[in-house]
Symmetry: C2
Subunit: 470 residues, 2 copies
Amino acid sequence: MSKLVESIKKAVELVELKDGMTISFHHHMRNGDFVLNMVMEAIAELGIKDLTVNASSVFDVHEPIIGHIKNGVVTGIECNYMGAKVGKAICEGIMEKPVVFRTHGGRPSDMEKGTSVIDVAFIAAPTADDMGNCTGKVGKSACGSMGYAFADAMNAKKVVVITDNLVQYPLNDFSISEVYVDYVVAVDQIGDPKGIVSGTTKITRDPVGLKMASYAAKVIDASGLLKDGFSFQTGAGGATLATAKYVQDMMLERGIKGSYGMGGITKYMVEMLNNGCFQALLDVQCFDLDAVESIRSNPRHMEVSATHYAGVSGKSAGVDNLDVVLLGATQVDVDFNVNVHTDSNGYIMGGSGGHSDTAAGSKLAIIIAPLSRARLPLVVDRCLCTTTPGSTIDVVVTQRGIAVNTKYGKNKELKEKLIAAKLPVCEIEDLKAMAEELCGVPKAVKLTDKVVANILYRDGTLLDTIKAVK
Amino acid sequence: MSKLVESIKKAVELVELKDGMTISFHHHMRNGDFVLNMVMEAIAELGIKDLTVNASSVFDVHEPIIGHIKNGVVTGIECNYMGAKVGKAICEGIMEKPVVFRTHGGRPSDMEKGTSVIDVAFIAAPTADDMGNCTGKVGKSACGSMGYAFADAMNAKKVVVITDNLVQYPLNDFSISEVYVDYVVAVDQIGDPKGIVSGTTKITRDPVGLKMASYAAKVIDASGLLKDGFSFQTGAGGATLATAKYVQDMMLERGIKGSYGMGGITKYMVEMLNNGCFQALLDVQCFDLDAVESIRSNPRHMEVSATHYAGVSGKSAGVDNLDVVLLGATQVDVDFNVNVHTDSNGYIMGGSGGHSDTAAGSKLAIIIAPLSRARLPLVVDRCLCTTTPGSTIDVVVTQRGIAVNTKYGKNKELKEKLIAAKLPVCEIEDLKAMAEELCGVPKAVKLTDKVVANILYRDGTLLDTIKAVK
């Protein structure tokens, strides 16, 4: 018995993909992914139309999807993150149906609850056997964790594994089991592993970034959470990575034994694991090749599914025990709502990812961002859209001041602690004033009435919408 | 956040167990298991009645369940295997409702299809953290694989993990994830690891057994399946283990590189893995402590779920690619149907386990059994009950002759190969005659009309019934 078929086109025929269906993809190859484009090309050649593409993230490399929207192959997109190239086209109104944005935890949970139905999942697998057992840990296109793909594999009606490293059955140390897989296709190349390292994944050298990082580290210290059992998530931005470095220094100096680091994992988190700051990493995706090497070789660096990472459909998730998360923002408003979906001009260039999941789950959710970017202020009266509700955000750290969110009846004690630590605590309105002093009050962005995206919160409810730019 | 509660009784209250519900257990602690008895005692003390117990296997250690049946706490049992002590009581008619027997593959698949609903699963976990991540690989009561427990964890409405080795969150190298677990209870001891080694798990020294083993090995050799890529399952009986030894010798002598060994795993299969006869072991349960040590330390020795091992609800299972399986029998009839549920007197003392799953999936299913036991013949006109349909059995090997099953339009070529190999090939009727010559024709077993057990085939259909003994 073998599930190997000779081409993607053949697999698409065998799964009986029809007009109007929903197909899914995961994004562990990030901006190096070839699979989404290859599959869409095969589908377009077969003349199938009116598809919804549910991809955990859409990167700039997926720009060809714009063509598929224009010719009617794709009429719907659902994702947790969308890069600026496709985002701009969406904001110009090229698609009739609004994009559905979810969170990294909400996406698998909506599949598990049955509110998001996937007809066919296409799994980019760096290594697989001919029955569909597969892993991201080894192979020439190794991406490490395949955490986001678990829900697709487990919930889609049909599953096609696409690999560029077909090995003899049974694959050792599989991540996704053959029990979920219908067909396997071997191709020359599923992606460019260099593309995995996309976005900023180096510690900033910019003095503004270092200032913010220093403040953020002091906030964590003053919070009282930095003690044995400490758990931590940080992103891949330059200032957040610098914060992680400062946090590591404090942990090593004081001999603090943390419990776990989580999230998209970078080499900086791997270093913390190896230096004994954590007993484990919970890895839903690898942000760089050092993380890929670590998850392959260190059993304390564990792959977790997106549900295990941040879902709401399971009995618990990693985010539920998280102490501190460091998050970015393009806009924060005076109610502490955060926007990471659009830039300040209203164009989509991001998405929640795990932003609102970790903010909701963690004890201390810190936004770290410069007071202004390109002469546009960080803090505004009202975000162009809300990615993460203000009620789940605790502190906003900028290079000029730190606002503690006491607007929802919490964090009064935290505010006192930060003041006692002589940190530059101020009100969110003060940050807004400082930013406007730097940049002036920005002109209102002109939007049309056309809704181009619906933002679903992690529980599946509608949180906000994004409108087309005029 | 923590899911730890102070006692089993408290967990039973928190999951709101009610009269009439179904609870489940897995059997990796085998005849050393304490958990089923502890839980039933707590439930009995709470005065809950009319429960159905779905345990992947019921061993002699679970004899106290007889008391719970008599006092109305337990009114239904579902399992894949039942030891002689409880089996005898069932055959004496102590329970109103018939026992439901499934197979190791059918049990998880019936859960996944929704035809077997579990209200509360109790998972005996040799190591767990307070959120429910758990594993059988480490801990003082380490049992190795927890393969049968996956379906319970993933499909039960509520899940309680019971451990005697609670570790700091997050547990490294977990098998079952916290996403499935509601509560965790820490107890002194979940079982006696010595009890894992139950039943025969040593190579036979008996000349009859060695004769059968030698024939079985020659059948495998003559079949043409013993070549690179060979896959193999064997049980833990003395003669089957001797066969495995002979097969290993041939593989090493000829430099044959097999693909995988599967099933309940013994030290003999581990030895074959370590000697390069297999590239991997797919382990759904460990039969001895050498297997436990191997699954802990050798990544090529892989834990698989029961669905992955033998299910019919997944897209494929390990059994689907199996070349050869060696199976036992208490009775074989002239249509090659096999009974491993009852002894020749009609008393339950076993069950399918993976018997009918592997027979159905494998290319060559070999029954290996002595022509008679305790003056009762192996081959009979009609089995007291059918565990495994004759259509899925290929060869019956005894110490006096080998019957090839050509009754279902298959195996003609195989029969010629065995004759060419000068093996003592005969008809199944010849084996019956030989057995009767040794033992005489046995008296008919006297059964009542009362059905005490229904045997479900792996697809969930009714295969046969077992009636109370007079």
